[in-house]
Amino acid sequence: MQEERLSRIIWRRFKRNKLAVGGGILVLLLFIIAFLAPLLSPYDPGEINVKNILLSPSKAHLLGTDELGRDILSRMIWASRISLKVGFVAMGIAILIGIILGALAGYYGGRIDNLIMRFVDIMLCFPTFFLILAVIAILEPSITNIMVVIGITSWPGIARLLRAEFLSLKEREFVAAARALGASDRRIIFRHILPNALAPVVVAATLGVAGAILTESALSFLGIGVQPPIPSWGNILTSGKAYIDLAWWLSLFPGIAILVTVLGYTLLGEGLKDALNPRLER
């Protein structure tokens, strides 16, 4: 009999998956870059220098400069903060709504379940990206609006996941035992069911962060996301579009940044999925 915590076992299983560890390292690296942005960026990301317009990558400007002579590397480092913020705040909102509605639907069942799940169906009917486009077009495009809109359009998947978990967990005997002891609904939901239902939510959230970052980049690319002069990978990419035959570095590097970030979160999410799966060997 080992004296081992569950988290230790999960960590051991996670470690074995090299791709997942790679994804985790990428995500960690992005965090470090975002937090240390003022220290890491060689120039002020907003500093315009007309003498340095569209310089190709060199020792002074590692990733070149843009059409206003701003340093691309510095702008991209600062933009990582936006990605991180959008990814996590949007997913935070989605998780909060998803957990509350999913838990209510799964635990109480019946009419409440029907009402919530039909609402979920309606939400899933909308082509999400166009819904976001329309909403942002009506509201003014700002980081806050983007985070909120992405958040409130991506909860249905999480609600469904959590409902399914609740449906199966509430039939388990340890829940019956709690009920026989006279535990309140609140205690059963928060102490017994929710902690056992979170694993798939963690996975979905990690993958969801990647999705939110991608959506933010797409919106910024279309010009209704993060507004210049605030740098975002998406809007750097847009400005690069006009100069693609003159300055390839303007489009290539933010593109790679988006790719690597999304890849990092996806690998991490997939790795967590395998590590948290209780049906795999103990």
Partner: protein, 316 residues
């Protein structure tokens, strides 16, 4: 003396619904009119095949399920009509032990929290919580250090002991044991049975003991109820039932116990019928080796053959 628990003609039908309008297409009659009583300090066993409604009866007694009809009296009080608040007081007096020792403990809680939760829900021993948890663990034969461990670090038998400690925490008078040993290794089964027996004497507990195996039941019960398809077919004192079984189903079950001496085995043909469409007449007539024509027409009423020995069969 009034009995501790009295179950009066309880029924539980589960609707089978189809389609988007939830049309009820059938009803599974899991428990179809069952009555019995349990005295203080007594062990009453419910025995029957899988699907005969034993577990449903257990859950009905604890009101984990609401009965379709009928009443359950606990210490003279009809608990099937109690509201949540009043029921809460009763819950501290009746507890359940489950069959699956792997499913009955929350995998994310430490053993100390699992047992401690029972105490905090009922506001018991709050000033000496640690000691009380340790005391309970020792009572069921575990060490106090187990407090810090998670359920997955224990074997099946040890987990079952944890489940028993949780049930004991609220100092119940009635304990419903829903096949507490059938998921365990044979070598562990006897240990748990002995523990239950010991606890019964020590705490003056009354047991409803559910099993699908008459061999297990013989040693611990005072009276035995034989169930078939949601009904009681025979009820008698243990001695009487084992020495003088009356119902053909009971005889078949008894003949299935392995013995050393040679004995004729009664092998039942076929499966237990679909409880949503139970056979007309006596429910057992489709598999009964001595069924008569009248058995398929009307249902036999329970009859007291000798004192305390009830049987539902036309032969008596």
């Amino acid at each position: 003396m009034p009995s501790l628990l009295r179950v009066e003609d309880i029924k539980k039908y589960f609707p089978v619904e189809r389609g988007i309008f939830k049309k009820e297409v059938a009803r599974i009659r899991a428990v179809d009119g069952i009555s019995f009583s349990l005295d203080k300090g007594e062990t009453l066993s419910l025995v029957g095949e899988s699907g005969c409604g034993k577990t449903t009866v257990a859950r009905l007694i604890l009101r984990l399920l609401e009965p379709t009809s009928g009443a359950i009296y606990f210490k003279g009080q009809n608990i099937s009509t109690l509201d949540r608040k009043e029921m809460f007081k009763v819950r501290g007096l009746m507890q359940i032990i489950f069959q699956d020792p792997f499913g009955s403990l929350n995998p994310r809680q430490r053993v100390g929290d699992i047992i401690g939760e029972a105490l905090s829900i009922h506001n018991l021993a709050q000033d000496r919580r640690r000691e009380r948890i340790g005391e309970l663990l020792r009572t069921v034969g575990l060490e106090e250090e187990c407090i810090w461990r998670y359920p997955h670090q224990f074997s099946g038998g040890q987990r079952q002991r944890i489940g028993i400690a949780r049930a004991l925490a609220v100092e119940p008078e009635l304990m419903v044991c829903d096949e507490p040993i059938s998921a365990l290794d044979v070598s562990i089964q006897a240990q748990i049975l002995n523990l239950l027996k010991e606890l019964q004497e020590r705490f003056d507990l009354s047991f409803i003991f559910i099993a699908h195996d008459l061999a297990v039941v013989k040693h611990i019960s005072h009276r035995v109820v034989i169930m078939y398809l949601g009904k009681i077919v025979e009820l008698a004192e243990t001695e009487e039932l084992y020495s003088n079984p009356l119902h053909p189903y009971t005889k078949a079950l008894l003949s299935a116990i392995p013995t050393i001496e040679k004995r004729e085995r009664i092998v039942l043909r076929g499966e237990i019928p679909d409880p949503s469409h139970p056979p007309k007449g006596c429910r057992f007539h489709t598999r009964c080796p001595i069924a008569k024509p009248e058995c398929s027409e009307r249902e036999p009423a329970p009859k007291e053959v000798t004192k305390g020995h009830l049987v539902s069969c036309y032969l008596f």
